[in-house]
């Protein structure tokens, strides 16, 4: 267990040394400070009497619940897109650094199996991202709930969703990195899949225009590749306290991520360093 914890700690410290991670932490802190001090809500008997943003009175009839949902939705959306993209940018090089000659052979000389070594690394990356997610999304939820007394517990589900989707995309980095040891290629493929998911999200409209073969190809891609864009809808619904009717994009993405970790793990286990 001690070697595994050592690997976990090493990864967390490697990420802590990255400026992008500190940047994410500072941006999250700024968002939390803005919501805490710049957004003033005057709630009387459970209804919003007045709202001031940076001291300026918000005009028009604003519903308290809608305001809370809107703030949470904006922050969760930003955490999902901007947060994950930046977190991948920060953590991508960590995996290929792990595979560097002189680093990996030293780690493999320790009494730890390759499986545990990789699990410790991935665990360390996830743990760091969990910390950032809980800090930002948990912080927003707590602040808004205390200010508005609207306790949208469903919003907290966006933390595991954001973390899981980061994990899915990090799985791509692990798979590509295990074969190529190239940070650039790993990030290009990962970001490429995110961009491709923008097209996959329009599955209904696009397949209507396609012939039999191209439709089959597109649907295969839709069901195989991660549906990063479509999962935004799930995060948005959870932020607005609405029930999620379709979990398929999330579940198929999780399966894709699991396959990536499996392929990357097998290659990591079998390769010579």
């Amino acid at each position: 267990m001690l070697p595994f914890l050592g690997m976990l700690q090493l990864t967390v410290r490697e990420l802590r040394a990255k400026k992008v991670i500190w940047g994410l932490f500072l941006i999250s802190s700024l968002v939390l400070l803005i919501v805490t001090f710049a957004l003033n809500l005057d709630v009387v008997d459970g209804t919003l009497a007045s709202a001031r943003i940076f001291g300026a009175e918000a005009t028009g009839g604003i519903d308290l619940e809608n305001l809370v949902f809107a703030v949470q939705s904006i922050v969760a959306g930003a955490a999902y897109w901007l947060g994950i993209l930046l977190a991948l940018f920060a953590s991508g090089p960590i995996f290929t650094t792990l595979l560097t000659k002189g680093h990996i052979d030293l780690l493999l000389s320790k009494p730890i199996s390759r499986t545990r070594l990789l699990t410790g690394h991935v665990g360390g990356v996830w743990l760091t991202m969990l910390g950032l997610c809980v800090y930002l999304l948990g912080g927003i939820w707590l602040i808004m709930s205390l200010k508005a007394e609207v306790w949208n517990a469903r919003f907290l589900l966006s933390i595991p969703i954001v973390l899981s989707m980061f994990g899915v995309m990090y799985g791509v980095i692990v798979a590509i990195g295990s074969f190529t040891r190239s940070t650039a290629l790993s990030l290009i493929v990962t970001y490429g899949l995110i961009v491709a998911s923008l097209g996959l999200a329009a599955v209904t409209q696009i397949t209507e225009q396609l012939g039999f073969v191209s439709k089959a190809v597109f649907l295969t891609l839709y069901h195989t590749l991660p549906n990063f864009t479509e999962v935004t809808t799930i995060v948005s619904k959870l932020s607005q306290g609405e029930p999620v009717s379709d979990w398929y994009p999330f579940l198929s993405s999780i399966l894709f991520g699991a396959a990536c970790y499996l392929i990357g793990g097998i290659k990591f286990y079998r390769r010579d360093f």
């Binding site: 700690q9 002189g102 052979d105 199996s113």
Partner: protein, 329 residues
């Protein structure tokens, strides 16, 4: 006592490329043992297969044939690696950490308990001469300091087997001496040390046994003393031998190659003792040597010194390994 490392018919072929696979045979049926308590030097030119052998022993690379055992365990068995300390040649330590922080993490990974780590880290930093740099990040370390930190890392789990790949690379002469002293101490403690090095003079000073690899095969193995001893050859320093005596003994006595003096003349005169000459004596046995001495004394030659010739490890290495294949370190 069973050998710490046991290798039998070990083979490794690297394959690269998918469309046109290229195969490189790094190890070709190597068999050898590293006895417990020895300081063992693994020598060979670049590409001889030394690092591949070490990587197979540690489970970093996988053998394609034969068998390797580490403390009787298969390579890659974490139980065997508990007893091993390793310093790779081109190590990449996390340079954002200080030396104590690095040792703390690698100590955990080596399975060293909290109590032992807190006791041993300051001791080891002191032992490798880094106790003055505990607040400095590794990014600010010189190559020599990194090498010392790496050695401390390898010693943290009090290993029974220490595997060092070019341990004195980049270290200044004082540092080399200190590292050598540590290796001697470890030998006295009964630890086994496997050194993979190009610095033959360093190996000669600390190793008791060596193995020479060339082109993936084991060329020689044995103690340095037995391998470098030249058979029945002596250097004789004496007054000039008369020509007729020299002619009578020409089969076993010959002048040492002439050297050039400051004024450009060729001479066999000993530079350290003017008036004396140097000769090489190759008798069949001890009795033959004594017969030569008797004859020289009888002919009025005054003998100053007779010393057995011993090759340096470097000379021996060059003789054994085809010089054309040898890349200077």
């Amino acid at each position: 006592m069973p050998p710490v490392i046991s290798i039998a018919s070990l083979e490794k072929t690297y394959q690269s490329g998918i469309i046109r696979p290229k195969r490189v045979r790094a190890l070709d049926g190597v068999s050898m043992d590293v006895p417990s308590g020895s300081v063992f030097g693994l020598l060979g030119p670049n590409g001889a297969g030394k690092t591949t052998m070490v990587k197979i022993l540690l489970g970093v690379a996988r053998a394609t044939g034969g068998e390797a055992r580490l403390f009787g365990h298969a390579p890659g068995d974490p139980d065997a690696r508990k007893r091993v300390g390793y310093l790779p040649e081109k190590h990449e330590f996390p340079d954002f950490l200080t030396a104590p922080q690095m040792l703390e993490i690698y100590g955990q990974m080596a399975g060293v308990s909290d109590t032992d780590r807190s006791r041993r880290i300051p001791q080891l930093l002191d032992r490798v001469g880094l106790s003055h740099a505990t607040d400095q990040k590794l990014s600010g370390f010189s190559k020599g300091m990194l090498q010392r930190a790496g050695l401390a890392q390898a010693l943290l789990n009090e290993p029974d087997l220490l595997i060092l790949d070019e341990p004195t690379d980049g270290v200044d002469p004082v540092g080399r001496r200190e590292i050598r002293d540590i290796l001697v101490e470890l030998k006295e403690e009964g630890k086994t040390v496997l050194i993979n090095s190009h610095l033959l003079s360093e190996v000669e000073k600390v190793c008791t046994e060596i193995a020479i690899l060339n082109d993936g095969t084991l060329v020689r193995t044995g103690s340095i003393e037995s391998l470098t001893a030249a058979d029945q050859t002596y250097t004789l320093s004496c007054t000039p031998i008369p020509d007729d005596t020299l002619a009578a003994l020409k089969d076993i006595l010959e002048p040492v190659d002439a050297s050039t003096t400051q004024d450009g003349k060729r001479t066999t005169e000993s530079a350290s003792a003017p008036g004396l000459r140097r000769y090489r004596v190759r008798p069949d046995d001890r009795a033959g040597l004594n017969a030569v001495i008797d004859r020289l004394r009888r002919d009025g030659v005054e003998i100053d010194e007779i010393t057995p010739v011993r090759q340096t490890l470097e000379d021996y290495f060059i003789d054994v390994v085809n010089p054309r294949d040898t890349v200077p370190a």
